[in-house]
Amino acid sequence: MPAKSRALPTPDLLTDVRHPMEKYLRMDRLPHIWCSGCGLGTALSCFTYALDELGLTDADLGVVSGIGCTGRAAGYLNLDSYHTTHGRAIAFATGLALARPEKKVVVISGDGDLFAIGGNHFIHAARRNINMTVLCVNNFNYGMTGGQFGPTTPIGQKGTTAPYGNFENPFNLPYLAASSGAVYVARWTSLDARRVKEAMMEAIQRPGFSFVEIISPCPTNYGRRNRIGDGLDELRYYQENTVIRHGSDPKHADLGPGKEITVGCFVDEPRPTYLELYNELVVKKNQF
């Protein structure tokens, strides 16, 4: 027996208001688990708007997530959606992409999932140029497990396991993606929903391994512990500190307190995909 879905709180004023992107959402799974002020709702909305503008449906693409607050994204999307193990979304998506080369696979997951436990899969899928889009919601910490520091936490920032401030050097994700071989690399903050959506659209359209980092507030954990304030305060921080540098060397896009947040599209350069090369260099040798 399917369990009853939780009843939506419906204040009188809102009874007739429907989500404009309802067709892409599993309405029977809402409300979602995310905190108010979290950037994840924005990221998910941007994704649905990107699909809408591209006219894509479940016949064209599916979504794979790992584990984490961001990892729950797959479960809210009314597409073929796969919620896998922590860190292994890209590896699972690799198999899915190889089995269904005519479709696009989109991985939506968190900074810890994709770059700590799953970091190895990220660099190898990028190197191979597997046909997938990876969307990383970077909230600079492990949100789901209570705000521990992670591989993107800037130096000096606090986490529940970095009570004296993080001293490990963080990854600069666009630089990592670019040097691993991604064909499309962009970074935006969740303040700039239109550009997040456009970057997602571009990334999805590129054959091969494309990557978008979405810098996003986690007011419950990262924001609170680092006295950034609520979600809105963090967005204000983005507004005041973001600079757009399209085409700049992502090497210089590292983040940290007191540093500007460099955003933009850093890489947009096609390269043959894994399956194109496999077909050209392996399969053809077997057709006498």
Partner: protein, 385 residues
């Protein structure tokens, strides 16, 4: 296009036979990472899959190998990975994902001596309990043990079929000696039966991803892009596949994962009996240890001792009823295995003191000397009389 089934008589080793079995069964995706003594499977299948329209991918580790296999399976492929000891350990978490999401695929373990790096090039059978219990939580598995290259071929085909019928990753628990042993392998297309993936019989909207049929197995599996908009999760889920985090759903979900194997055990289990009709002592064994045990059996019969052998082709689920029934009429069981006593624990559990159970352990690195097995048989007989 090359041929999927290489009809004819071949001289090949057990690893290569596994690869050929996979290709014959319709495997179209192999994801793996090199490790001794498994590498010949990957090497052979890297030649074969491009010939038949499949994809071979060498992943960055065994974790991603099994993850890619699960992804491939949901993409509609018959998919397989193969590994050995250390790699098998790395696969445990995603084995759980495969069991929880009821994903058909095949995982071959060519066992070597452990723990840790252990004996990379030498035989062991020490992963038998890990196969049953290695991933966290409760579940059931199917594990098959070939004793020859011929059987490596056949059981790999069977593993693909069982995976489709019971919707789970099926384990082929071979070992280094069977994997590297060269023997005659007959491939007869008429003898190969292939089970194709069952598609949903209901349209999207009416179909429930995890609604079980009468045999407790979910009915039909849509592939990515079939229009069913599936949600597949390793979280505890209801029949829609939606995560529900409570005790009632957990009970329903996990009990069915176990019962879909144990309630169908008679259809799953396969054993081979040799000279058991009049036997006073029966050797219960599997894999390469069944070959050495046959030597011991022949030596015993030459001495006039009534000894038989029960070879477990299916080790998991353990053939409980068969062993239990046999326990009522024999003086004892002897259980040789290349570990310090794993499957003997199951024999002991099932026999419950009804007869003598004698382990013949071996730490690994070599197969048993049949004389050691014979000694154990004689001890049991002396004890029983």
């Amino acid at each position: 296009m090359g041929k999927r089934i290489l009809a004819g008589t071949h001289f090949m080793n057990g690893d290569e036979a596994c690869a050929e079995g996979a290709v014959a069964a319709g495997c179209s995706l192999f994801a793996g990472y090199p490790i001794t003594p498994q590498s010949e499977i990957a090497e052979r299948i890297s030649v074969r899959l491009p010939q038949v329209g499949g994809v071979f991918i060498q992943m960055e580790d065994e974790i991603s190998s099994l993850a890619a296999v699960l992804g491939g399976a949901w993409g509609g492929a018959k998919a397989m990975t193969a590994t050995s000891g250390p790699g098998f350990s790395l696969m445990m978490e995603n084995l759980g994902l495969g069991l929880m999401t009821e994903t058909p695929c095949v995982l071959i373990n060519i066992q070597r001596g452990g723990p840790s790096t252990g004996l990379p090039t030498l035989v062991g059978q020490g992963d038998m309990m890990q196969a049953r219990w290695g991933s966290h939580g409760d579940y059931a598995v199917i594990a098959l043990c070939p004793s020859s290259p011929q059987e490596s071929f056949e059981l790999t085909v069977d593993a693909f079929n069982l995976a489709e019928i019971y919707r789970l990753p099926v384990l082929v628990m071979s070992d280094e000696v069977v994997g590297h042993m060269y023997e005659r392998v007959d491939i007869d297309p008429d003898k190969i039966k292939i089970v194709e993936r069952k598609k949903p019989s209901l349209p999207p909207g009416e179909f429930l991803l995890y609604k079980p049929g009468p045999n407790l197995v979910p009915e039909g599996m849509p592939s990515f892009g079939d229009g069913y908009k599936v949600h597949v999760t390793g979280l505890t889920h209801d029949e829609r596949g939606y995560p529900i985090i409570d005790a009632a759903t957990q009970h329903q979900n996990v009990v069915r994962l176990r019962d879909k194997i144990y309630k169908n055990i008679d259809d799953i289990v396969r054993v081979e009996e040799t000279a058991t009709e009049d036997a006073d002592v029966v050797i219960v064994t599997y894999g390469i240890s069944a070959r050495t045990s046959l030597g011991a059996l022949n030596m015993a019969r030459d001495k006039g001792l009534k000894v038989g052998m029960l070879r477990l082709i299916t080790v998991w689920p353990f053939p409980e009823a068969i062993v239990k029934a046999m326990a009522q009429r024999v003086a004892g069981f002897v259980v040789p295995e290349i570990n310090l006593g794993q499957i003997v624990l199951e024999v002991d559990r099932v026999v419950r003191g009804d007869t003598i159970v004698r382990s013949v352990p071996h730490a690994g690195g070599d197969i048993h000397d049949p004389r050691v097995i014979l000694e154990a048989i004689e001890e049991v007989l002396a004890h029983a009389s």
